[in-house]
């Protein structure tokens, strides 16, 4: 039936009363992503290239779209911290998978070792124990001051840059606990720099919108989440779903 593409931008209780000024940018971003992916498929690019292209932001977008979008509402959390703009956390873990890897188990096991031959033995062991994903690519504090712009690319770059022939061979009898790798935090940053993934200064991810949400959270002394009910007297417009019942911690944790 030819090529096909589908993408999502998150699911949940998005109120039907979402005002047009919030709804239209999100629909426009979905259309832009769809056009990006379909153009690549029309050009005959491989499926893995296309999915990576779509989850990477082609240009700064004001709406939540990918972990690396500036100010992505669900991913960039600015918390009170040592700097005036607070402590930046980009929850940018991502995983890619190609259908044929499963069939290629014998030559390139799914979740093949992603540690470079020169990795310290401690890191190598760590890389054996977790599923293939890259997580928390940034902390706005030394030694990894510059966040990865695209966790997906960093992971894929790492995975493809290490061929089985160069990967360290475990000594006979070594048991595989779980085949895969997890690059977290500082390891992701180290991997990014070793394979030249584009990184950005933390300020790239912080927008006025984030800072305003932090200010409101501090003022109200309560958790501020994407669609929080405006407090009495607050001026900023909010997406206004029903307040989260206090006994339901399914969304606030």
């Amino acid at each position: 039936m030819g090529w096909a593409l589908a993408l999502h931008g998150g699911a949940g209780d998005v109120p039907r009363t979402l005002p047009p000024e919030l709804r239209e940018p999100r629909l426009a971003t979905l259309r832009r992503c769809l056009d990006l992916g379909t153009a690549a498929l029309r050009d005959g690019r491989a499926a893995l290239d296309v999915v990576e292209l779509v989850v990477r932001p082609p240009s700064p977008s004001p709406t939540p779209r990918s972990p690396a979008s500036p100010g992505g509402a669900a991913r960039v959390h600015v918390r009170p911290g040592p700097t005036p703009t607070g402590l930046l956390t980009v929850c940018g873990d991502v995983a890619c998978r190609c259908g044929s890897w499963r069939t290629a188990r014998t030559s390139t096991p799914a979740g093949a070792p992603c540690s470079p031959p020169t990795a310290p033995s401690r890191w190598r062991r760590a890389s054996w124990r977790a599923p293939p994903c890259a997580a928390a690519p940034s902390r706005a504090s030394p030694p990894s001051p510059t966040p990865s712009r695209s966790p997906g690319s960093s992971w894929r770059g790492r995975r493809t840059s290490t061929s089985p022939s160069t990967a360290p061979r475990p000594s006979p009898g070594t048991r595989y606990a779980v085949r895969g790798c997890a690059l977290v935090n500082r390891d992701v940053m180290r991997a990014c720099s070793s394979i030249g993934v584009e990184t950005k200064d933390p300020s790239h991810f912080i927008t006025e919108h984030n800072i305003e949400r932090l200010r409101q959270a501090k003022e109200a002394n309560r958790v501020q989440i994407d669609y929080t009910q405006p407090l009495k007297g607050q001026q900023t417009p909010q997406e206004t779903p029903a307040p989260i019942p206090t006994d339901d911690n399914s969304q606030t944790g």
Partner: protein, 129 residues
């Protein structure tokens, strides 16, 4: 958050999921969970990317279940996806999936899911609710 699945003209399947997941969640909470087998899975039959409440996606191994129903029950993509989404608690899961034959499915049991799809045959869709 964003997740994408694709099948190219040669029939190769791939998926990518970045966490973020359920809108309106607290910092540090599990998002879609891009763990392969839970929120992300692809094999020779289909590619799936799930989004929603990470804990439920992990508990129900959503993405792998869709592929397993196709593999072992012979269900078409749409039926397999509908069965998995219906089996998860209401309001917790949404997924997009494509099959090797170019079939597209976007199922969710949440109020909304930001979604879009297109096929070579000319079908295209963009939606929220």
């Amino acid at each position: 958050t964003v997740g994408c699945v694709a099948v190219d003209a040669a029939g190769n399947l791939a998926t990518a999921t970045s966490t973020g997941g359920l809108v309106n969640k607290m910092a540090g909470r599990i998002g879609d969970t891009p763990v392969v087998g839970a929120g992300t899975y692809a094999n020779a039959l289909c590619a799936v990317s799930a989004t929603g409440k990470g804990e439920e996606i992990i508990r129900h191994t959503v993405a792998r279940d869709v592929a397993a129903l196709m593999e072992h029950r012979g269900l078409p993509l749409r039926d397999a996806a509908a069965r998995v989404v219906a089996g998860a608690p209401r309001g917790t899961v949404g997924l997009v999936a494509v099959s090797r034959g170019g079939e597209v499915c976007m199922a969710h049991n949440t109020t909304a899911m930001f979604r879009a799809c297109a096929t070579e045959a000319g079908h295209a869709e963009v939606g929220i609710w």
